[in-house]
Amino acid sequence: MSGELATWLGAATPNGSPAWLEAWRTSARERATALGVPGSKQEAWRYTNPRRLFEQAFDEGAAVLAAEALAPLLVEGLEADRVVLVNGRYAPEHGRLGALPEGVRIDSLARLLAEDPEAVRPHLGALADDPAALFPALNAAGGADGLVVLLAPGARLERPLELLHVTTGERPTLAQPRHLIVLGEGAEARLVERYVGAEPSIAHATNAVLEIDLAAEARLDHERIQHDSAESFHLSTLYLHQQARSRYQGLNIGLGGRWARTDINTRFAGPGAECVLHGLYLSGDGQLIDYHLDVDHAVPDCTSVELFKGILYGQGRAVFDGRVFVAQDAQRTDAAMSNRNLMLSERAEIDTKPQLEINADDVKCSHGTTVGQIDPQMLFYLRARGIPEASARRMLCLGFAEEIIGRLGDEALRAEIAALVGDRLEAAPLD
């Protein structure tokens, strides 16, 4: 079994690492080995069989990317500081960070672990505590680097921070970055996280873990754009912990990957906090886009909104598995979860399962799902104005997506995503 997992589990911790780090890695290693490669009989894997992922050989991949290879991966006009990771490793030569204000630390996880391990010790693995989760355990065991953002109380990033992750190599490579985003009381930031592949036809794999800790009144706007290459595997697990009156706005765009699975686990730890999770996914031939949300209203007076919209075409598949849990004393919880899907083909498949588990009595909770096709009346209206059918369909799909795309924080990103979605739909088979 560990044969299949060997690349994932990585090399032993470098000598001279602190004992706590070594212990943490060892325990992750043991946990991953004990969990083993999951089968589709397990509930969490009901819709997907991850076995094929482990049957493939991956290189570790070097953190090398030519400047000419980076240029086409950038978003034109995006005004942001930038940090680049290549195959899971921090690549400072590609970054673009201005002078950081007081109380702001943006650095490589590997570098901090080597030079100032105490700075990350309280945060590393602090939130990723699900003992049954295989991929986060693999990441803990085998991952070596990632982005660390530490904001002292009251600190704020003046400009958005772009985290660009690139997988690249002539052979399939495995990247396992781990990012720690820790905002002190009242701190504020906007993070634009983008995953891209440099080679369209190579099946790279990414297994990312994010741990986001928001202290009271902290505020994070977080855009996540998964645009890995078509053949690749993308896994990412987000753990979010929110103290009182903190505010998190997450926007998940899922476009790329043969199999892309995103897990989002959020937990409220103080009253008055708000968590907004929006998502847009596009799934076409041979693709599986897979979202698993677990929203834990552990305390009273918190608000959560989950709205995910999907466009499926060809033989595309998608999963929306959302769960909102309301604890017994989480009174006055306000939670609304919905998943809406636009099916452009009869061969496309959506498994959608929004669930509420409510144990308190004074709450406002709702959930809903829609699965529909393009409205023929809308289509006719556009065609009656001279717009050819294929363009009219594309306009309506983009109109459907606009509710999410329109929430992206700046025009450059909105234009980029609308163009990516539009191009994909243009190439999509009409059936």
């Binding site: 809308m378 006719f380 209206y381 009656a384 104005r385 050819p388 109109g399």
Partner: protein, 251 residues
């Protein structure tokens, strides 16, 4: 310009157009009146190519082409325009983008160059003014959240922009307040020309006071049972439909 002969069309098993004849020459304005459910909107939809109607007989030619064989967008590109009785809301579809796509599709089909952004905006602003519409409309989604009257005005605004050869206005007056009715009518009249024809579907003489028709037709149970000049509308206003439908039924 338009020649319809013996047109028959069904929705499901129900025959709605039952041998309808209509000829429209260049520059003419024809009013079509008739009781609810007589088939006025159905005629407009069949002519503009909406799905869901089965044409079981007759012909319709427009500018010498067999209209019924064309896709809806081809009809629009040839110069046919339908101002919908119930304009559809298109959430998320930006109005400017929509108008530009429509105009450029039509220009392209006519062999004209696409308009650049500057000329397009200039044209748009000019047409907005004619319909007394606010610029803010351009940033909104097509018809989404528009009031009933705004939707109707938006239809005529689109017509002004697309400059069709034949416009079918399906109850454009319904839902308009008195001032809006005047503005819309002025917008329509500004587009009247010796080359441009119109079919104005309405229930009320009031609209025809503003947009004077050359011909008035009564559509009843899927056929045109009476045609005349503009005085026919006045007679209908006074006497209702009974006096002709009785004759029509007897005939």
């Amino acid at each position: 310009m338009l020649s319809v002969t013996g047109l028959r069309a069904n929705v499901g098993d129900k025959e709605i157009l039952r041998g309808l004849d209509l000829r429209i020459g260049p520059g003419e304005v024809h009013a079509i009146m008739g009781p609810n459910g007589s088939g006025k909107s159905t005629l407009a939809h069949v002519l503009s190519g909406r799905e869901g109607y089965a044409v079981t007989g007759g012909t319709a030619s427009f500018e010498g082409r067999d209209l019924l064989a064309l896709e809806p967008e081809e009809r629009a590109q040839l110069g046919l325009f339908l101002a919908f009785q119930y304009p559809v809301e298109l959430p998320g579809v930006n109005n400017t983008y929509f108008l530009k796509s429509a105009l450029n599709s039509i220009r392209k089909a006519r062999g004209e160059d696409e308009l650049d952004a500057v000329s397009f905006m200039r044209l748009i602003k000019e047409k907005l003014k004619v319909l007394h519409l606010d610029d803010s409309l351009l940033k909104r989604a097509v018809n989404a959240g528009f009031s009933g009257g705004e939707k109707k005005r938006n239809e005529i605004f689109q017509m002004a922009l697309l400059e069709p050869k034949l416009a079918i206005l399906d109850e454009t007056d319904s839902g308009l307040d008195i001032d809006a009715l005047r503005v819309v009518s002025e917008g329509v009249n500004a587009l009247r020309s010796p080359e441009r024809s119109m079919i104005v579907v309405t229930h009320y003489q009031r609209l025809l006071d503003y947009i004077e028709p050359d011909f008035v037709h009564v559509l009843y149970k899927g056929r045109i049972i009476r045609s005349g000049g503009k005085e026919l509308a006045l007679e209908l206003e006074q006497h209702g439909y009974g006096w002709i439908t009785d004759e029509g039924a007897a005939a």
